[in-house]
């Protein structure tokens, strides 16, 4: 598996990596991804291509480095990055600004198409914007100031602000459905917000009882909207059913330091990916059909099975996700390390089709084009 990983050193610490979406109708492979840097004197957002131009050498498996298409200065650290559509990305900045950049693919240039400076702020200081999620044209951002702000990409003004949405820092946000979002914060809580309600308080709060372990990332199951995965400071992977009670359905020991991102595979959600400050990138696989012989379940990634433990789960519904039905004793959950030994943090990852991209504090971008999913 590791043979398929290409490292490219890029002279900037990478905070975010995102694939440009591909249209659902075609069976295209992703070709372009975007990265954001942090902690540099001048930070950048960049667009990269992994397609080998000209088509020569494609057949013999030759795969070159990602090639830089274009880059643009970014004021402050890029704390989050999301594609709004094929041409536009939204960034969250440590200066509190939210910016929409347009990638002009014919000229390979980047321009700013919308910019909200100091969207997140304190009365006399900037507050970093920590997370952004979009469902074009709507953009939702969260920040250290505990605010949730809703923008529209085509409107200059702010649509809505939820003041004091959180007394702690909100670290990440995701959509549960078009009118409902979920945030995670630095005291281990998940908060559900119904955007149809005008109230400034969450419709539901879930938390790990008493632990207060900060949560850093969240992702929603692509098909089952009530299932979300979170990762936190202790490196644990939690899978939650937001309909069921207010504590996680399963807890899995994953990393030895902060988990920065968690992603379900968008089309094959039995696969999940996590990355961490401990310098590792994990591929998790669970199988739905327990009748299947074990050799058919995990045949493709039998190397380097790492620690994995799953708390006993309690559901007995007939149709529940494999993630909520975890049972490692039958070998239904496998984890595989996807990077060669590495010491510096893997800050971000994105997976689309068979392609995975991640970025590190070691100033490297890794691309794997043959993820076994």
């Amino acid at each position: 598996i590791m043979d398929n990983i290409n490292a490219k050193y890029v002279s900037q610490k990478i905070s975010k990596t995102r694939w440009r979406p591909v249209s659902h109708s075609s069976l295209q492979h992703p070709e372009i991804f975007s990265t954001g840097s942090w902690d540099n004197e001048d930070n950048k957002i960049s667009f990269w291509s992994i397609s080998s131009n000209g088509g020569s050498g494609m057949d013999d498996g030759f795969e070159g480095d990602p090639q830089l298409l274009c880059e643009h200065r970014h004021d402050g650290d890029v704390l989050d990055l999301q594609f709004l559509d094929q041409d536009r990305v939204v960034t969250a900045s440590s200066t509190g600004a939210v910016t929409v950049f347009r990638h002009h693919q014919n000229t390979q240039t980047i321009s700013i198409s919308q910019h909200w400076p100091r969207a997140h702020r304190y009365s006399c200081d900037n507050a970093p914007c920590t997370g952004v999620v979009c469902s074009s044209p709507e953009i939702v951002t969260v920040g250290e100031d505990g605010r949730i702000i809703i923008f529209r990409a085509d409107q200059e003004g702010v649509i809505r602000v939820i003041e004091n949405a959180d007394s702690s820092t909100i670290h990440a946000v995701t959509y549960l459905r078009t009118t409902e979002i979920l945030t995670v914060n630095s005291i281990g809580q998940l908060k559900l917000w119904d955007l149809r309600q005008q109230s400034n308080s969450p419709s539901q709060i879930l938390s790990l009882s008493g632990d207060r372990v900060p949560l850093h990332c969240v992702d929603r199951h692509p098909n089952q909207q009530h299932i979300v995965a979170t990762g936190g400071q202790d490196g644990m992977l939690c899978v939650w059913d937001v309909r069921q009670g207010n504590s996680p359905f399963s807890l899995m020991e994953a990393h030895s330091a902060e988990m920065w991102e968690v992603h379900f595979h968008p089309t094959n959600p039995d696969h999940l990916f996590t990355c961490s400050e401990d310098g590792s990138l994990l591929h998790w696989e669970t199988s739905t059909q327990s009748d299947m012989p074990s050799f058919m379940q995990g045949g493709r990634n039998n190397s380097m099975i790492s620690r994995s433990a799953m708390a006993p789960a309690g559901g007995n519904q007939s149709l529940i996700s494999a993630w909520l039905n975890g049972d490692t004793s039958k070998g239904r959950l496998e984890t595989t390390h996807m990077l060669p030994s590495q010491t510096l943090s893997v800050n971000s990852l994105d997976v689309l089709g068979q392609c995975l991209v991640c970025g590190t504090d070691g100033e490297a971008i890794f691309v794997n084009r043959h993820v076994p999913v």
């Binding site: 902690d39 540099n40 004197e41 304190y122 250290e144 959180d166 008493g210 207060r212 400050e277 943090s345």
Partner: protein, 652 residues
Amino acid sequence: MEEVDVEPPVTNIPAAAAGKHLGFAWGPGDILVYETLYKASGAKGSGSPFIHEVRKDEDIYSPILRKLFNESHHIFVGLQTIREDLPSKNKKPQFVSISKNYRSVIRACMEELQQVAVSTQDAEVATQYGDQVSILLAIELIWNLCEVLFIDAAPAGSLLLHLLDWVRLHKADVDEKARDVLQSESPAEHESYWDVVLGYVLQGRLEEARQMLVKQASLHPAARNMFKLMDTLLSKMPFYNPSGTQTLTEFDVKWRHWHEEVDRCLQDNSFASNQHLEAICKILVGDEDTLLEHKDLLSTWYHFLVTRLLFCHPTVKPTELHYYAQSCLTMFLDSRSAPEPLDSILLAAFEFDIHQVIKDCSIALNNWWFVAHLTDLLDHCKLLQSHNLHFGSNLREFLLLEYASGLFTHHSLWQLAVDYFDHCPEFGRVYLELQIERVPLDTERKALKVLRICEQRQMSEQVRSICKIMAMRALRNNRLGSALSWSIRAKDAAFATLISERFLQDYCAKGTFSDLDLIDNLGPAMLLSDRLTFLGKYREFHKLYGEKRFREAAKLLLSLMTAKIAPRSFWMTLLTDALPLLEQKEVIFSADQTHELMFCLEELTSSLNTAPPGTDKPMQEEDIEVTKVELLRLALARNLAMAIVKEGTVEA
């Protein structure tokens, strides 16, 4: 005072006018220089308002060299994990392979710099990158030689083969020329043809030389035999095969035999009719004058050295190298030109004076990267044991600390430095402790990364300090929840108390709690400070009350006072909170509990009365206080009566 090795270089501060006095302050990787006013007292005038930053290690700021730092960091960390207890026989191949990894990173960097230098439009940038390329070239050349001599430590026989590889790798222009020649219409008549043939011979690439000669031979059918003879000589030259069965002595005999044969041909004037072949023959026999006639093809004294060894002393022992190296240097350089720093460094390496190599490199090169990594590797090979510095701990650690300190001054590369400090057993931790606290923390995410570094190393002092900075910042921005979280993480009881007070003040002022999501979720963290415990418990009381669990609420409220959890200043508020419970139709406080409440009230009022009346409180406020106490007394008395009746009834 100790003697200096070289005159220190002068750095001019451009903005400082001549004749001004400068002051300076040391930094870990740079110096701050400022103009001072040095005048007789009373004299007026203003100095320059600028502070200049003088950097020692400019290379850290090169975007391409950053790749070198990042990639070599990875190799460095890998090297530190090689187990100490492995037998050295097993470790040597690992060390050689690590050395090669370092060199390949240097080469990759060099190639990229070269490309940029060629493609850029900016002449200044091109020069700058060109300079960096030549520095990296020198670094790689020295490293490679150190690898051959010290790390691989090849014995006689193999030694020469390694040195040949070394020269071939760093003198690759013969290949370029060969390409030009072969691509031309008539290679044998190309002006560089003989240069290429001689170049190959000088590097011991005899097979390639023979192939080239074939082209010439076909042009001179009359001299066929002469070319045939040369071809035979070249093909018969023995090379030592370290993996073969032949002993070094056997090889030596064979080589001497061949050497005599070449010498005979020379005496016979076999090649007298062709000056080029004659020259080749003289080279093969190791004729020094002929070799020196081809200085331009050799271009360096160390190429001359290796060629001379190849044709005169192929079984040279490592210990004999220094003698030949010194004499080749003297023979090759004109008496006029003094040796360059690179020459002295290579000469020191041939003399196996590792410390001189490192010292000279430290002086000659503008970065610490090379000496730090090379010294570390040599130290792992146990080549530096005997040497101790009269400052710091040892050479390896000293250089690593210098390099890492430089990295730490960089706004982004500081993260790499942590692993270097980790592997400096004596002073690494102190350095890290001093530096890590000074990393600017712009975001919580960065603070978390810095904290992780400190927590992994049990640096509790730094953890506290970082959390404190973050808590203070949150407090300044009126983010009480975040501030409390940070002080809980730092287990900073005093600060948690301070923030709890702010929460309680807010409550007293507004009548509602802010940040309920946080206070309701305190859990065991509540126990960090008494005031925080009180805050959590008091909020719990409100929750119980809200849920109409009056009895539990009443019990909790009372215990807050009797167990001295509540600060005295808050008792009146708590007693006032008891009022609605006392007014309930149902009896909530038992007779005993009511007694205790009364006791609390009396204790409070007696302590209030001891204060001189009306000192600072306005009359109106005092009136309210008095009314409150009266109301409480009445309610307590009524409740006591009801409780006694009720308790009596039940018992009866």
